[in-house]
């Protein structure tokens, strides 16, 4: 019965279409949330499209693998086991099978696609999307930023990375000492960035803080600050002391000083 095969594929297609709608909404919501976070930390927000696309593709793939007939049977108990049996025997032309097909066709007419969608969930997701969009607009408009936390976080990450590298270097040094080889002299700080933060620039003798906001693509020139003067504290170690040289204390008689002076003058001239 070719007609029944068509019915089965139509049911499958309709159910998958219906199931994909909430999945797409999930993907959009995920995109907006990641966009919001990236904007807040002043990172490139379009990167949000990558996890959202991956998530949406995964969900669509998962939904397409769902046994749609079993799903229909779940919502319509009168079709339980009947629909999938009829689908398994779609190509069989037999008295019993034909009777089964006609029974199923009769009952399938009552199947409504709206049953498979939870309106409440859809509305909730749409509402969340609206709220997320509103927050994104607000962040952009009011220039709300959590970049300072980003810097702190980045510094912490750098410190952690340095610590890990330092431990690694110490281990390497220890190993090389154990093997009798001399240390290379390249310390933990060798890999450190000695040029400072990249977003700092100098104009004349003044230091400028230039901030680039990825969400708005606007330049924000920060406050021009005078270079801070720092006073160095003298903190000599206790064991360091000054003492006069013995040569300065040599007592040359005054009448001989002229002779010595003349000697050194001659030496310098020659």
């Amino acid at each position: 019965m070719k007609g029944f095969r068509k019915v089965v594929s139509e049911i499958r297609r309709t159910i998958i279409e219906v199931l994909i709608i909430p999945s797409l909404l999930d993907g959009i919501l995920l995109f907006l949330l990641i966009y919001l976070i990236l904007s807040l930390f002043e990172l490139y927000p379009m990167f949000a499209a990558i996890p959202a696309a991956v998530y949406t593709l995964f969900i669509v793939w998962r939904e397409s693998r769902i046994n749609t007939l079993k799903l229909v049977e779940k919502y319509y108990p009168s079709l339980r086991e009947k629909l999938r049996t009829a689908a398994d025997y779609a190509d069989v032309d037999d008295v019993m099978v034909n009777e089964l097909h006609s029974e199923v066709l009769q009952e399938v007419r009552n199947v409504a696609s709206s049953v498979f969608i939870s309106r409440r969930k859809i509305l909730l997701k749409v509402f969340c999307c609206i709220v997320a969009s509103f927050f994104i607009l607000s962040i952009t408009h009011f220039h709300i930023s959590a970049a300072k936390y980003r810097d702190e976080l980045q510094n912490k990450i750098n410190d952690l990375a340095d610590r890990i590298m330092l431990e690694g270097d110490e281990n390497t040094l220890r190993l090389s000492n154990q093997s009798g080889a001399a240390g290379s002299g390249v310390g933990a700080g060798a890999n450190r960035n000695i040029y400072g933060n990249k977003h700092l620039a100098t104009l004349g003798d003044q230091e400028l803080q230039v901030e680039l906001k990825p969400s708005t693509l606007e330049f924000k020139v920060g406050k021009v600050k005078d270079a801070e003067k720092k006073e160095f504290e003298e903190a000599f170690p206790s064991e360091v002391f000054l003492s006069g040289s013995a040569s300065y204390e040599e007592n040359i008689p005054k009448d001989q000083q002229a002779i010595v002076k003349a000697y050194f003058k001659k030496v310098s001239e020659s």
Binding site: E81, R84, T85, A86, E99, E103
Partner: protein, 309 residues
């Protein structure tokens, strides 16, 4: 209403005139017949086992014979034997057909016969033929052996060998009737009114047509897989089962489920059919180990556990 649904309704209505209660037993006997197989009805004496089989034979226009098994019953008493016949002054050997040559054979109290006599039924049950001497006789279609037996623990019985038990599609357990049913039984058989005789509502041709129809009942692939997995699990459950069921059990369970679906007026097999038929199909095909017996686990308990997996 589907035609076959009406037929089964009539059959059961007629059976109810004679056999009070025992609906499940009647249904399972009918399933056995639809599968063109043999059934073993087990229960204590006086539970209408013989009456049920006799009633089924009466309802259907089929040749019925009853073999009362006793320890001195010989195989030739079942299959038949050659006798000397004199005609026109000549003496010839003529085959005298035994009671096995019928459509429904009631092998009453089968476990009272010796193993030799029990095995005489084997060929008939499996091959639907009887070999006496060098001659093989085909049995009439349809052919069923419906055997009854008392629980094997009773004295003077010979437990059926596993190979012979496996040839029975279903092992039908007969329980005691409910209080209301027993009241009706008492009323029916103690009053002056003679219980009505059942009418013939199913002929041989229709029965064969229903047997063919039963095999055509479609079953979903996942349900078929469920059955095969269930049977496979019986072979792997080392905890309580010593020996599991053979592929014959898988075939039997599918056929029995199809027949039940037909009786219930459905055009497909459902999970309910499989669960219901798993007990009579498997209870004589799995052998529990000592541990299970020690714990007092019955085969039905073991099947329940297998079904829950």
């Amino acid at each position: 209403m589907k035609n076959y649904e009406k037929i089964f309704m009539n059959v059961f209505d007629e059976a109810r005139k004679v056999v009070v209660g025992q609906e499940e037993m009647m249904e399972q006997i009918m399933i056995t017949m639809l599968c063109n197989a043999n059934g073993l009805v087990e229960g204590y004496p006086g539970l209408a086992k013989t009456l049920a089989v006799k009633t089924v034979a009466d309802i259907m226009d089929l040749k019925f014979s009853r073999i009362q098994h006793t320890p001195d019953l010989m195989p030739s008493d079942i299959t038949g034997t050659y006798i000397i016949e004199e005609s026109d002054g000549k003496r010839n050997f003529k085959f005298q057909r035994g009671p096995i040559f019928a459509n429904i054979v009631l092998a009453d109290e089968i476990n009272r016969a010796t193993p030799k006599t029990q095995s005489a039924l084997l060929e008939a049950m499996q091959e639907k033929q009887v070999t006496v001497g060098n001659t093989t006789f085909k049995l009439d279609e349809p052919f069923f052996v419906l055997a009854t037996q008392n629980p094997i623990e009773q004295e003077g019985t010979y437990p059926l060998p596993e190979a012979q038990q496996d040839r029975f599609l279903l092992k039908i357990k007969v329980g005691y009737p409910s209080f209301d049913d027993e009241m009706r039984i008492v009323d029916n058989y103690t009053s002056e009114v003679v219980p009505p005789k059942p009418q013939v509502v199913l002929d041989k041709k229709t029965l064969i047509a229903l047997q063919n129809l039963s095999r055509k009942v479609p079953i979903a692939t996942d349900l078929k897989q469920k059955i095969v997995k269930l049977i496979a699990v019986t072979r792997k459950s080392a905890g309580i089962i010593e020996y599991g069921a053979s592929p014959r059990a898988s075939i039997g369970l599918i056929l029995a489920s199809k027949a039940r679906a037909l009786i219930k007026g459905r055009t497909h097999v459902s999970s309910e059919d499989i669960v219901k038929m798993a007990y009579p199909v498997l209870r004589h095909r799995i052998i529990l180990n000592f541990e299970a017996e020690r714990k007092g686990i019955s085969t039905d308990d073991a099947i329940t556990e297998l079904l829950s997996k």
